[in-house]
Amino acid sequence: MTRQTMFVTLAAVLGAAQLACGGAAVPHQEMATAQAGVRAAEVGGAAEHPQAELRLKHANEKIAAAEALIKDGDNETATLRLREAEADAELALSIAQQEQAKKEAEQALKRIKVLMQEARS
């Protein structure tokens, strides 16, 4: 497993070096999309729900990794990281929405329970 991981890392590094020579363009569009996704997740309350926060963290890490890669001239790998970041950000937002909806449903249920209790007494 360790050997495998090491190998993959090595392969990725070599691959990155190779791709860097290809001279792909700086992924401005992907960067903007990923960043917009992160902002949407933040506005959508992702930071308030642990599972959403985790995905948001992944997205931010991927963006940071992409920035470093762009600096090194590996635009192709940076593009991949940014696409992953966008998927993470979207997931973060969805989870936040799910949690929020669940919370609201629970509150609605609670409200009825209180009313029932009042009706009973």
Partner: protein
Amino acid sequence: MKALTWGTRSRLACVAVVALGTLAGCGKEALPPQALVSARQAYQDAAASPAAELAPAKLDTAKQALTQAENAWQEDPKAKEAETLTLAYIAERRALTAQALGEAAKARQDRVKLDEEYMELQEKRANMTAEELERVRERLAITSQKAAQSEAELEKERAARAEAEKKLSAAVASLAEMASVKEEARGMVITLNGAVLFTTGKYELLPIAKSKLDEVAKALQEQGFKKIVIEGHTDSRGNAADNDKLSERRATSVKDHLVSQGLDASKIQAVGLGASRPVATNDTPEGRANNRRVELIVTN
């Protein structure tokens, strides 16, 4: 089945690469299927979730992402490794996204229903009948079960019991105008005024008596009982044999009606006692009216 096929492919590819002398190729290829397997699993889970019905567009997006990942890997496992991994990574997250959005939609639906129920409940609260209360409580118990099963079960049982008690007292209260209820040594005695139940000399139940008895039957059914003795009584006018016969027929009418409402006939006994047990004087019209009665003695 599908995963097995992929595995086989992967192994075959490995063998081929090893034969060419590049051990490195194997490690490279073993990983994409793993990432793909996660993505496939995530998609399957999402497809089986409320997303299928409530977030079909997102689910379709997830499917497309998965297809892209599968294609990239299938096309050229070795050269496209980095892209395949990314596509699989994205596919898995798209599937999880679809699932989360499906669950969110489901929760919103629940919430709308609960809100409607709340409004309805508030409206009806003042004049809610015991039956409606029970219905709502049942639905409530079902919803609670999803949220907290064990807690909900306890609550449901408690609610059902409270409800049964409430219904019984409500039925008894509505009976008050035509009946009285007393706790006596022989059991709970429900005394029904003969004038409300029957017309003079007849033993068919009046419609109003039937509807009241329905409520009693329902309450008894829920509360549970060991035995019910139904006693028919008359005043002292007329001859004793006729009175005995009439009082027995009347008691039987009440029994038959309770049985028709689902009570266990084997636990109910109907007897006619004629004028033998007056509860008031037979010398005044008022006293005689009180003596004309049917008594239900309920033992638990």
